[in-house]
């Protein structure tokens, strides 16, 4: 089952995606693309793994961490499929980051490693844009880098965990304007899905809809206004998004 949330006639609807990839409402109506707005498919806490692929750590000249390096995003940053992300004026380093996102399916507290996968409800795709100009490396992954309005596309939908038998062998790809720019595999995760669920649940209570962005492999490239960016996780989904200028964004408000 694939589940999504959309805005249709100014109403938020929970919908499913049928075998043809079409959105179907709870009443069974099939909606055409363009007649609705995709929303982030879940609501909850958004955890993000920094440097969770060894190759990405090398790319950023970091030593791989010995404990998950987790930070949080606030909900203002999340947007759905086919939406726009604005690039601040006067910056040079805006990077996409294609990520497998784990969605928690039931309340999880102090979960053992061997039970952790029982708490995964499903998976989706995230694009964790970073404005690296604002990164002050030694003062935490600051929210100005990572939690900006429109800076975290997620979706289009959640696919049930049962349909992804092995989340640790999925190809990860990013395309800019149709050109493949980033390619990796979730088999290279430093801390895998059960480890992350167990680790976080031993710090705090996780609740359904919480999201864990699992990190990105190497292959960073700059993006610019006008670029169409597609992030894809094999078997999970393809998430499209467009970069616009800050001026165009402000005019759209």
């Amino acid at each position: 089952m694939k589940r999504a949330r959309i805005l249709f006639n100014e109403e938020t609807l929970n919908v499913t995606i049928n075998n043809e990839g079409k959105v179907v409402t709870e009443k069974g109506t099939v909606l055409e693309e363009g007649s609705f707005t995709w929303l982030p498919p879940c609501e909850g806490k958004a955890f993000v793994l920094a440097i969770n692929y060894a190759d990405h750590a090398a790319e950023l000249s970091f030593k791989a961490p010995d404990e998950p390096l987790v930070f949080l995003k606030s909900s203002n940053t999340l947007i759905g499929h086919n939406q726009k992300t604005y690039q601040p004026d006067n910056i040079d380093f805006m990077h996409y980051e294609c990520e497998l996102v784990v969605v928690i399916g039931k309340e999880a507290k102090n979960v053992a490693l061997e039970d952790a996968m029982d708490y995964v409800g499903g998976y989706t795709v995230g694009n964790d844009y970073a404005i690296r100009d604002y990164l002050e490396n030694y003062y935490r992954p600051n929210l100005r880098v990572k939690s900006r309005d429109t800076c975290t596309p997620i979706g289009p939908y959640i696919i049930d965990a049962a349909e992804i038998p092995d989340p640790h062998n999925l190809a990860i790809r990013t395309y800019i304007n149709g050109e493949l720019k980033q390619e990796g595999s979730t088999k290279d995760l430093i801390f895998n899905v059960p480890y992350l669920v167990s680790y976080l649940s031993n710090i705090m209570t996780l609740t359904p809809g919480d999201m864990i962005f699992t990190g990105t492999p190497e292959g960073l490239a700059h993006v610019y206004p006008g670029d169409e960016v597609i992030v894809e996780v094999e078997g999970v989904g393809r998430l499209k998004n467009t970069i616009i200028s800050e001026t165009d964004y402000l005019n759209s408000l």
Partner: protein, 245 residues
């Protein structure tokens, strides 16, 4: 006016009072706000001074250029009277007295000059934390544990306070005054903090900013069996017992 929340038959009820004594404080109060809670780290003068030498050494090399923010997730939020649950095997736990700034209307890219127009009012926060060994790593493990952010008992309308930037903040543990500070110790003012955050995060009604917590010394350490009370002049008192997780 004081705005507080309670629960009846699983429904959240918003209530108002004109004076503190009109509110029953025996318990049952919910966190006074229910939006996102964003903390401003390193926003206290004494705390900042204590780290100044470190800031200029490796790996930092220079002090932070902009306010450093963190998030207190909703699992941390509790109301007046609810128990702070602390782990037994994670080292010392500290209270974090602070003024809470509550947003009253959607704030996107507001200027310092207009920032106070976006404030509904003020509340009391106890931003509980484990000791932080590093100021350059994300604070999730130290700060986002369940119950680590009491908020309340109410939100006092901004119009009822002449000067939110000059209020005495006192912390009592088991009725003993253990720590004193003031909202005048902020490095970045309320206006600056709102303008900075809203330059890239759209703040919604009910969101709250933790203005800044002091240096966590032994005087703010809390232990199982304690009752901790944060008092902010003119706003009120936030009381929470401490129990083992």
């Amino acid at each position: 006016m004081l705005h507080y929340k309670t629960r009846k038959n699983d429904q959240v009820i918003n209530l108002q009072a004109k004076a503190p004594f009109e509110v029953a404080l025996e318990g049952g109060l919910l966190p006074a706000v229910n939006g996102a809670v964003i903390g401003v780290a390193l926003n206290d003068k004494i705390l900042y001074q204590s780290l100044e030498k470190q800031f200029n050494e490796k790996p930092h090399i220079s002090p932070p250029k902009t306010p450093v923010l963190h998030i207190k997730t909703d699992n941390t939020h509790i109301g007046y009277g609810d128990a702070i649950r602390i782990p037994s095997d994670m080292g010392a736990v500290f209270a974090g007295p602070s003024l809470g700034i509550v947003i009253g209307k959607k704030a996107c890219r507001v200027t310092e000059e207009t920032a106070l127009d976006y404030v509904q009012g003020y509340t009391i926060v106890n931003e509980v934390s484990l000791a932080e060994t590093s100021f350059y790593r994300p604070a999730v493990k130290a700060k986002c544990r369940d119950t680590f952010c009491p908020i309340g008992p109410w939100v006092m309308d901004a119009t009822d306070l002449d000067s939110p930037q000059n209020l005495a903040i006192k912390t009592y543990i088991n009725d003993t005054l253990c720590h004193e500070t003031s909202s005048n110790q902020m490095i970045h003012s309320i206006e600056q903090v709102i303008a900075y955050i809203s330059s890239f995060i759209t703040l919604e009604v009910g969101d709250m900013i933790i203005a800044g917590t002091p240096l966590r010394t032994e005087s703010l350490e809390i232990n199982t069996g304690d009752v901790v009370m944060v008092e902010i002049e003119k706003i009120g008192r936030l009381v929470n017992p401490v129990v083992a997780e």
